[in-house]
Subunit: 500 residues, 2 copies
């Protein structure tokens, strides 16, 4: 079933060197390692494909996206079985992530069919005005070939046929994926689904290519290739910033849409803390440990006023997290980074450990730490993301210190308020700060669920994202792959079909 | 009338060092030179102003913009008189540029009142779905303090109260302007108009500051200041790229919306050339020399098929350009750069000079050169912008070479087709290339007029602009200063007024 090779414009291509995946059980599989030469082949084919695909009727692209969803579902059992082996995620989670992935493809199919994303505008000619006004029409057009980097933590929804790929293909952009080395088998099967859909729809093979991971030079070559016009990335701050810098340093810079890191603070206001602190703590513990905490929107920080309410909150969170059984992380490297992040935080001045847990090399347990507002404000490193089920409680003296903590935050994907009616004034004050820190602010809930819809923003100020104007989830994410073009006095014989 | 100082959050602030403007006649005026310390003061005041201005009712911002327009008009005679002295531009041109500037301010007033730019979206709660869907609302919010760099060639419409400032203030962003050293007097008077409007509207003084030019360190400090969230720039490729690089290298990168250079090629197709080549040539000569060719959208290149039609075109263009009298450029430095650019082009292998002209140090005459398609393709430097009334005719052997010339183009603000009905097939083929090269493609006209409207795109692939997704003219330009924020399950007591 597995090809174990790259997919370059319709050809399954091997390589002299290979890398192994890391199954949770059973023997490893070996996959071909990418190279800059393969990147160049894929990018050249993508540019060639753009000549037709970039001008394809929207209905054709919608049919392609729906067919990809169907082909993925047809391989559903194999994808889940492979995903369970490679990632350690439960089968039910992978099944639901597959539903999310096919849902995204179908959502974008409907979105391009509707055509609102084209943002068509027209200012009609005014020949009698002095000076005369020409006829002006505007439409959003696809940018060209797009590079997509698969993410470790969503082997389906943010990888080979994930949101970046779905939105780029919807826009009319050919896609070159760099598969993540944490789940090459899943990427392999999903690429097979896309290729089958591509063949069924009779599209140019350059519309989609995938180069498997295993070598940093591949990613660097991909973002630097002159035919790549934009990049979608979800991953680490260090890796993402390095690629962002390469994009900015190109002779012709291109946009790098990277989602790099977020600790997603929650502010539990006094009324809510008094009324239902323990309940919020238990909900937090469940969210924090969900899927071993391996979500971009995992709420790692809880900020609340010191006192008996804070102590009860901490006790309830500790008790609930203490019940969590060991969970397998996506890779041994991610588990090791989690443990060293927990140790680093425990060693920070002013940080108390409330819960620690030891277990096997790829299995982890939740950690819970606490510090004061002053401790937080004194150590910016406490605000750096530790990927995994790590919670940090920050107890502040008063509302002024709470505001200072809010102002000290880096950019976030989400910020959360837990509030009662009596907290409205505090919430409004905090909101003026949090709204500038995050792409999404929410009340009385947990941020981990990221709805795929029109009003979603999955982005935010740096380092949550490298482009605070963009989202990587929801229909608005298609904007990343579009550019406006104005057509002045253009005869119908030359105008794009969508403008006639 | 002139303050000769900076305007820092309502205070007119001098400095120990000064620089002189370059009047075309009469004595020079001296203006205070900026410093990084003044930049910091302005940025801190802008951040402080954002707390109120960033949440101000749209009607208040509309009133402010309209009042700025009125205050500029009230100073119209002084502005034009000062502008004529500083820039050498005719009074009628400055009057009409002032109308364009106040028109932009009034357009953005109406645009924010209408509110469509907020792009409000809502996905309502579905409590019975599994998992339940929360209530999600999205709105565009201002990014914070914006830096604007005045342009040399539009002392009003792209400077102190130009399109960047108007759109940023409309969005709710305080603005810090770096005035251009080519016209500090005009910038001074316009800043007085903005300050008067700011006082009349009772706004926080940090909403607008202007630091006069004269020192490169000022611009560098401005784009690197941590409180600046985005930059608008119109100017040279070298200067703009240096600032872009600084923005990308910040600890927290910010978007740099720079418009850097364009040669705006025209393709005269065979049918149009045969039918009305000489007429197009005369129109071109008039456009090319308009305002001494000092427009970003000046069409410097004409591409057409070799033969008798091309020769007639060249003769007609040469004759029409030969009639143009010497014109004064914006600064002596710009005139010197024009002459050296003309000389560089004349010295390039395969380039013939059809028209050259000599005159005084700040006055210039049009130059006309010619080369072949092969000559063009062999020398990428021929595609670099020479700011001023310089035309280059590129004669191609056939349609294949014409396509090759089109493919060789760098990013452009505009590309133009001159075509008749019989040229439709050639135009369609060319369009697939030109549409990817330019933000605006036009037929049977000249690109110099940039209509300020909904459907305008004044931008394009690099180096025309550093962000191919953006425009710096027209209502869509407000998007540069906005970021989407999603509000999830947020009670009305905390939601922004615009979402209730």
């Amino acid at each position: 079933m597995l090809k174990r090779t790259h997919l370059i414009a319709g050809d399954w291509v091997g390589a002299e060197t290979t890398f192994a995946n890391e199954p949770v059980s059973g023997p490893a599989d070996r996959f071909a390692t990418g190279s800059p030469a393969l990147v160049a082949r894929a990018c050249e084919a993508a540019e060639e494909a753009f000549a037709s695909y970039g001008h394809s009727p929207r209905a054709e692209r919608a049919a392609f996206l729906r067919r990809i969803a169907d082909e993925i579902d047809a391989r559903g059992d194999a994808i889940t079985a492979t995903g369970v082996r490679e990632t350690g995620l439960p089968g039910a989670r992978l099944d639901s992530e597959r539903n999310r992935t096919t849902g995204q493809l179908n959502l974008f199919a409907a979105h391009v069919e509707a055509g609102d994303y084209l943002d068509r505008r027209r200012d009609r000619a005014q020949p009698d005005r002095q000076p005369p006004r020409p006829d002006l029409r505007l439409m959003q057009r696809p940018v060209g070939a797009v590079a997509v980097f698969g993410a470790s933590n969503f082997p389906l929804a943010f990888s080979t046929a994930g949101g970046d790929t779905a939105s780029a293909l919807a826009a009319g952009c050919p896609v070159v994926v760099k598969g993540h080395s944490a789940h090459p088998g899943v990427s392999d099967l999903v690429a097979q689904a896309i290729d089958a859909a591509r063949i069924a729809c009779g599209l140019h093979p350059g519309v989609f290519s995938q180069i498997q991971g295993g070598d940093r030079a591949v990613g660097q070559a991909l973002v630097q290739h002159p035919l790549i016009r934009a990049v979608g990335f979800t991953g680490s701050l260090a890796g993402g910033r390095a690629l962002f810098d390469l994009c900015a340093a190109r002779p012709e810079p291109i946009p790098f849409f990277g989602e790099l890191g977020s600790v997603n603070p929650m502010f539990i206001l006094d009324g809510a803390l008094a009324a239902r602190g323990a309940e919020i703590a238990r909900g937090w513990a469940g969210t924090l440990s969900l899927g071993a905490g391996q979500f971009c929107t995992n709420p790692g920080i809880a900020v609340l006023t010191e006192g008996p309410g804070a102590e009860a909150f901490a006790q309830a969170a500790r008790a609930a997290l203490g019940e969590i059984r060991p969970q397998t992380m996506l890779t041994a490297g991610i588990a090791a980074a989690y443990r060293s992040g927990c140790d680093r935080m425990a060693a920070a001045p002013g940080v108390r450990s409330l819960l620690t847990g030891m277990c096997g090399q790829r299995d982890v347990m939740p950690y819970l730490h606490a510090t004061t507002g002053a401790g937080w404000l004194a150590d910016a490193a406490l605000g750096e993301e530790v990927f995994g089920p790590l919670g940090l409680i920050v107890t502040v003296r008063d509302s002024a210190e709470r505001m200072a903590v809010a102002r000290s935050l880096q950019g976030q994907l989400t910020c959360t308020l837990h509030m009662d009616d009596a907290d409205a004034a505090s919430a409004r004050a905090l909101m003026t700060v949090l709204e500038r820190k995050a792409g999404r602010v929410l009340a009385n809930g947990f941020p981990t669920g990221v709805e795929v819809c029109d009003a979603m923003v999955h982005g935010g100020p740096y380092p949550a994202s490298t482009n605070f104007g963009a989202t990587s989830v929801g229909t608005m994410s298609i904007r990343r792959w579009l550019r406006p073009v104005c057509y002045q006095n253009m005869p119908d014989s030359v105008l794009p079909d969508d403008l006639i």
